[in-house]
Structures are given as structure tokens and as C-alpha cells.
Symmetry: C2
Subunit: 128 residues, 2 copies
């Protein structure tokens, strides 16, 4: 099954793709930036920088954090963060459906295994 | 205007995204791998490796090359290469249209300029 991934580039230079969205989803799931970063096998620092880039790009926080308290703090998506995830996933779904026929046709052209090289590039030449 | 970019990952591990497709288009335009690489500000070596990855992934060449002759050789897309570009661009178009409303809604959330930080992350805290 061919997998389609979307990247959005906004006018202000902000980019939104699968990495940032997955990070937001893991934060929603785990309630923790640190745990979400671990799930994505990225450093806490990198996760924090991605969130900062999102906040900068959208002008408001997508994640709200708390410190201390009985549970030792945590993180959750703001309403904006939820909106961003929801719209991105819905867009991805619509795009996948719209492009399904071409994606499958391209997938059928692909070799069953990579690494096989049925024809070396050098052999196929235009003879004038 | 929010720009949408597609990446396809096929079952055999091959990926197809804007970089490889743009390279193929430049080869079709310029008739030369070297010129196409220059247009993309990438090394000839890198362009060659991307083409090799495509050939491996699709099992057949996407670009045919000739050497020597009165014009000093050249490159052109094979029928498969043309198919891949055509289907990718059509898919991208269909996906953009299908996701237009969400892409625009997300774009309207983005700040007009990045680098402004209307609210620092640290200020917005959940008060328990």
C-alpha cells in the first residue's frame, strides 16, 4: 500500500509535516513532552525546538505545560494545537483519497524489491 | 497561498517526492543531467544517485542517456519517466484541491511573520 505524506508550507515560512504532527499527537497521548520525544526517538531539546517553531509560526502556543502539582506537571494540546492536528489529518485523508488512483498506479510500477537492478543505467542508451 | 507538497512511500521502500520529480522535469527541459543538477544547485553526483535510486525503485530507467554524436550527448525521460512525472503532478493537483479548505484554514492561523513571539511558551501554563 503506497503511503502518502503531506507537507504544508505557509506564507510566513512555517512548515507543517508528519514529524511535527506526530509529536503533537504523542503529547496528547502521553501528556508529556519528554515521553512524546522518547516515542519519536528524538531528544527533548529537539522536541522543544519543534514546538517553539510551531508556536512562532502560528503565533500562539499549540501545547500548554504545567509544572509541579501532585502529578509532577505535564503537557496537553491547546485548542489551537488540537485544531492543527485535526485539520492536518483530515487534509491528509482527503488528499490520499483524491490521489489514490495515481498513487496505486505508481506503486505498481515500482520493483518488488529494491537493490535489484534489472537494467544498469549505462546500458540503456539512445542510439542516434 | 499555502503550498502543499506530496511524498509517496512505496511498499518496496522507494520514496518519491518533490526533489526527484523536479530533477526529472529539469532533465526533460534541458536535455541534460548536468544542467538539471545545476538548476537544482545539486552536484552531478547527487543527481546521478537520485536517478539511480529511482531506476532501482521502479525497476527500469526513468532517464535515457546518449553519449557523443554531433550534439555531445544528452538525456531525456523514458516513457516510464514521463509517466512518473505526469502521475505525481496530477496526484499533487488533486490532493491540493481536496485539501484546499483545511490548508487555507491552517494558513490563516499562522502568524503574519515568524520570529515574532506574541506569547512565550513559558508564560502559558495550566493552573491547576
Amino acid at each position: 500500500m503506497t503511503r502518502l505524506t503531506i507537507r504544508l508550507d505557509f506564507d510566513n515560512g512555517t512548515a507543517l509535516g508528519p514529524g511535527k504532527v506526530r509529536l503533537l499527537e504523542f503529547i496528547a497521548e502521553t501528556g508529556s513532552i519528554r515521553k512524546a520525544a522518547a516515542q519519536m526517538k528524538m531528544s527533548y531539546r529537539r522536541a522543544w525546538m519543534l514546538l517553539q517553531a510551531l508556536d512562532d509560526g502560528f503565533g500562539h502556543p499549540l501545547v500548554a505545560t504545567s509544572r509541579g502539582g501532585s502529578k509532577g506537571g505535564g503537557a496537553r494540546l491547546t485548542e489551537l494545537g488540537e485544531q492543527v492536528v485535526y485539520r492536518y489529518r483530515r487534509l491528509e485523508q482527503a488528499a490520499s483519497e483524491a490521489g489514490k488512483a495515481d498513487a496505486e498506479a505508481l506503486g505498481q510500477h515500482t520493483a518488488r524489491e529494491t537493490g535489484k537492478r534489472p537494467q544498469a543505467r549505462q546500458i540503456r542508451r539512445i542510439t542516434k
